[in-house]
Subunit: 357 residues, 3 copies
């Protein structure tokens, strides 16, 4: 008769370049999840709100926003890849593919690209992975790399510094419905802001998005709805037994939530005449988020480009930054801004010449 406490998740020694993980679970996007994530983050893009508008724009129905797609796929990798992580270092080259609709089932597969033991600490190392998420038709909906700092199971274990020569060849480009005519889109153009077309943006401008949103203990349920059961988000008792061990000494909010919230907060200013996000070149959680914190965001327009093959669209090259405020310490005056999220983000945007009424 044994008492068994299953340990799931992998340590640094378990990863080797080329190893492939076909992650457990999968997830069918249901309307409950769509409602919770599309709306809590203050998204205003009518593609994510209004099925008539979405169909007019050539989609099959309400479109799942990239933040939700990212969360559904990313969460499936957590147990295998970052269960024993010390820190989630960076998202790299996150690209979006086929649109995702309510009722689609997304499954995820990860290939280990590189393992790099730390040269300064022998109890950890960095794992560099590539993940692709596909729908039930086998179409790629998202593909991204991630770098995670992972603990070793045994500090004395020898882990080889190794990497694949190149990452798997997985095609992933936004699939945006073909352009029709200006008259086709005009009847519903009023459903989005009139000043967020491609022509309205100037490189160098910074939009301080005016809205903020406090996150409450709701984060626990939201994280569970993504099937992310990581204990630092949901096990209050665990934290209480040893608060010094955990950042902030309290439950920390899963990073996918501020990721999603910052995208939503940017919406009314830069994202509501947009059919798709193209790529997040790099992303980092630069500060922690806790229940009771109010999240704010800003978008810097870094560049504008044509969209290859699409005269009706342009590409905005932006930096999205999320922040919160902490109380001043002695000697400081007024609330102190703390950055929590950083994302280099390219967005496909409608041209007024082609879409406005």
């Amino acid at each position: 008769m044994a008492v068994i406490r299953k340990q799931r998740g992998n340590y640094l020694e378990d990863f080797a370049p080329g190893r492939v993980f076909r992650h457990k679970g999968g997830k069918t996007v249901n309307q409950g999840l769509f409602n919770a994530f599309t709306d809590f983050n203050f998204t205003t893009n009518p593609l994510h709100k209004n099925a008539e508008y979405a169909r007019l724009h050539g989609f099959e129905g309400l479109v799942c926003p990239p933040g939700l797609v990212m969360n559904v796929v990313f969460s499936q990798t957590v147990e295998d890849i970052s269960e024993n992580a010390r820190a989630n270092l960076e998202y790299v080259d996150m690209r979006f593919g086929a649109p995702v609709y309510i009722g689609d089932t997304l499954e995820a597969e990860t290939t280990i690209l590189a393992v790099t033991p730390s040269t300064s600490n022998d109890d950890r190392g960095v794992v560099h992975v590539f993940t692709a998420g596909r729908n039930q038709r086998g179409e790629v909906v998202i593909a991204f790399e991630r770098k995670v700092q992972v603990w070793k199971r045994d500090v004395k274990a020898k882990v080889e510094d190794a990497q694949l020569e190149k990452r798997p060849a997985v095609e992933c480009h936004p699939v945006i419905p073909l352009y029709k005519t200006r008259e086709h889109y005009a009847p519903k153009a009023h459903l989005a802001n009139p000043d967020t077309y491609f022509e309205d943006f100037t490189p160098g401008d910074v939009y301080e998005h005016t809205r903020g949103r406090v996150m409450t203990e709701e984060h626990i349920a939201l994280t569970g709805q993504l099937d992310n059961t990581s204990q630092v988000h949901s096990n209050q008792f665990l934290i209480e037994q040893n608060p010094e061990k955990y950042i902030g000494g309290r439950l920390i909010i899963y990073g996918g939530i501020p990721f999603n919230l910052c995208l939503g907060l940017s919406c009314p200013d830069v994202w509501d005449n947009s059919p798709a996000d193209i790529v997040y070149t790099t992303g980092r959680h630069t500060g922690p988020l806790f229940s009771g914190d109010t999240v704010f965001a800003s978008t810097e327009i870094r560049d504008k480009r044509d969209y290859p093959g699409r005269a009706d669209l342009g590409v905005l090259v932006t930096t999205l930054r999320g922040h919160k405020f902490r109380k001043p310490k002695e000697g400081e005056s007024g609330p102190q801004k703390v950055e929590i999220f950083h994302l280099e983000r390219e967005i496909a945007v409608h041209r007024r010449s082609h879409y406005s009424a």
Copy 2:
């Protein structure tokens, strides 16, 4: 290079009688939203719970309750009409039309009826508007007037006191499926209370609805799910910087939530043998609601009338009042009742002679 903080919403000077706003967004009612709103408010009408019962009663499926319809349409008007409001004064003549089902997309349009600058304070005035909500087939699902006290952008601006001669001619009557036979409805009559038929009510009686429900910080997510991003409901940091400026010095709960909750609390006593609400003649938020407050409600039966053209139904003319309690101040004894909501409400109700088993 500019730092841009978009200001959305209008001030008193921006409104003129006859101006029409085709509001942004629109909203497809999904099952997540339906679940959150239909159930949080303790609704017991089986039309909103049980699709088999709803279809037996001639509807296409689960019916969205009037509180949800009101919230989905009203929220779409908030940015254009009341973003810079000092107070939401009154709902007037709120009428319900075609039934709303899950999957329907509702869009909203508002016409300015009158602008009345204040005679005592030169920094504000009252805007009187008319809003119609339509589904994807162009059918009117709700139509109502609203009076809002709005700030001026510039106290020195001269605003004319003006009004339309008459409001837009928009037909809006409840669309209630045709009556079949008593035998048709009897098999599922037990799913509603046996003592809430038209014959059971006596003008003059007051029902103190026995249930109460505390509202928690869940209100933030519920309000976001309606796409209402008004900062006094969700930006904790904003309040903390200047608590004296905000009622209660804390986040205040969006009025649509107690509106919805009081309707739900009335359900087991007056509303579970009802196919539709007809009109809310006038409605006011008479007191604020905060996280941690428990909401109660009462319904006064003021009159009973026949339903024109429908021998199977009657009309209950009621007053719905919502209240909470505050702690006693010095000199007072016991918790003090505070009214928070007042609604003159006419309900269509089944006659026992036609519907009971």
Copy 3:
């Protein structure tokens, strides 16, 4: 003119063996409810997550887990059976039948089996009931007995000790899709854990499920979504007026929530290669749960048996226990484990020989 406060629910005197209650409401399972309940409890069985997997396994779509089915049906009985209960004593012989899918409508019917006035206290007694839940096709989805301690309306009332000779003959067996071939299931076998097949379990072993989850005030909304309006879960004001009268002096969490949560916590270790729960022989809430408590669970494997008529399945006979911790009192050292839930549970489990890749 009367002031009316409707009292709903029954007292001991109102129950007599043989009396049948056709409960009010009914409930169509929508995706919002499915999302909230299937995900908050950390379920990992892909039948409840991934519609492609569910269909591959012969189901029509996402399967509602037994905890959700139990909650939807049980909640419909609360007003008639336990509105005036002093304590919910025991679930007995809870059996699962036809699978439940999103969109199904469940209705409930209860027969009183026995009434036993207390011999030691003349103000209460035990009511023993049998409830069956059926879907819109009339198929039984769940059937269970329950014992509840109920208050008398009048302590002087004479209540007869009586019982039915036998309970209603209602067939209820799990309906599990027919087995196909190992090759059929293999492509998606990786979506569940590789070590939770029937062959992997040894009678005598105890699995301490490694995850815990704190429950927050979210319980109020979750309980409302089940149409359970029992005031001890939602009326904060009621508790504040008389805290000594209520267990813990605060809102208590509805038992269906830890019931559901413990089932979910067991999932990764014993339940993710399982097509159905068969029977819960007995279940009891052995301790209270409050907002802020972290819930843990363990499963003891008591026995293994063949599944009659199904070579591809086995039966695990288990005991599921839920617990939390309380702070130590004087003289105690370290957090003290408090059991909150106890369930004797038989689970149908896939055999590796028939299902693994």
